[in-house]
Subunit: 220 residues, 2 copies
DNA sequence: CGGACACTTGATACGACTCAAAGGGAGTGG
DNA sequence: CCACTCCCTTTGAGTCGTATCAAGTGTCCG
């Protein structure tokens, strides 16, 4: 375990707006968010962007880079952040000596696959209101799992980034938030969101797989 | 390597329509398709289904089950098939002794994550025509990688299953295929598809990330 | 304090869904 | 082997949801 500590101790600071890595960069390490907030993005040749996920403390980023030794997406900080750099070669070696680490690692990658399947379900089957409700509830759950308030939080990302993640345009995100507020389900003050009647949101997504995915922190 | 053979030699036959495993089943093994064709499905509480992928010879299924020791999706045979059962506990043990196997394994899981990101891009950003073009080209590529004709093949899945995978309704799939045929780009005879002008299809998806994902065979 | 950027809201257009009906194959049972 | 049935597929017409276009407002940052 002291070996593991040695690997983890490497820390790196990333300012808001900066990229931790970009698609195409050579892959050398995974990154665990220590503090802060990130988005991951894949982009098509003609410039269209798809946000593939948002990551907060404890989350692991870069798993998609293992397959090709090249990062497959961008990781951009949405606020000043702090990450642990985990050199992959060293993790691989350690995994052989520490079975529980290897097993933990497989679990993490599998969890990411499960999460992606949930997003596919969301993008393939749900309407705008359902997507946004699922998004808010997921965020709420992940924040509360980290000891923050579940029903009162500040969005780190723009409407456009939410839209990109949910397969919607920013105007639709804005309109839907307004509608939720008009219903009395949430209160919206710019990026400050309060969930006033989470049960109504849950009702919207009930049947749609309850929030599209659990958390997937590294628990490291 | 002979140890690996011992693991792999376990074979299992699955008839068309049968499930290899279902969401919720206890996870014990991964499955590599030897011959045949499968679909993977996640379903929401209210019965909506999302096809998360189609798998042919060499593809690995069940990676999503590792995280929770429970399969997260259904695997249903779309034609009489033959799979290798790979007990996961044994693979884990072998991975420690054979570094190249461990590495190969990480690569496979990562590749699945990359594939899912491609599907997310497709579901989040593309229009019906683009989705279907990407789907056909991807299928074509995977078939040709296995030594089959790239431009002349038989669909194993129904219009509804294609639609579920692409986030479209079956009528839209049917209409779009008809339109491609009217344009002279493909010929459609029920499930028999011929790509007459693949370059036009490529033009449709150009910019949208060229086919949403590469192959991900096990190469075992 | 100025300017750019992010957000909201409205009007309109378009794409995909829904509902509906008819045709064609594949598989089954006689 | 044939006839029947069921399901898959195609195609059409109309509707709904979301994108698009366009102002206008507010806010954050320099």
């Amino acid at each position: 375990m002291s070996q593991l500590d040695a690997v983890i101790r490497q820390s790196r600071r990333v300012k808001r707006g900066e990229y931790l890595f970009r698609a195409g960069d050579p892959f050398r390490a995974l990154f665990a968010v220590r503090t802060g907030f990130f988005k991951n993005c894949v982009s098509s040749h003609d410039g269209r962007e798809q946000v593939t996920g948002f990551h907060m403390s404890g989350d692991l980023m870069g798993l998609d880079g293992i397959s090709s030794n090249t990062h497959g997406c961008d990781a951009q900080a949405l606020e000043d952040s702090d990450v642990c750099e985990l050199p992959f070669a060293r993790l691989e070696l350690l995994g052989r000596d520490i079975p529980s680490l290897q097993r933990h690692f497989f679990r993490l990658m599998s969890r990411e696959i499960v999460r992606d399947q949930g997003v596919m379900l969301l993008l393939g089957n749900m309407k705008a209101e359902e997507r946004l409700a699922a998004f808010l509830l997921n965020l709420s759950q992940r924040l509360s799992a980290r000891g923050f308030a579940a029903n009162d939080f500040v969005l780190r990302m723009s409407r456009e980034e939410i839209g990109s993640f949910l397969g919607l345009k920013l105007e639709t995100v804005s309109r839907t938030l307004s509608k939720f507020q008009a219903n009395g389900w949430i209160s919206v003050d710019h990026k400050h969101i309060r969930l006033l009647q989470p049960e109504h949101l849950k009702q919207l997504v009930s049947g749609c797989a309850g929030g599209f995915a659990d958390d997937h922190s590294a628990h490291a």
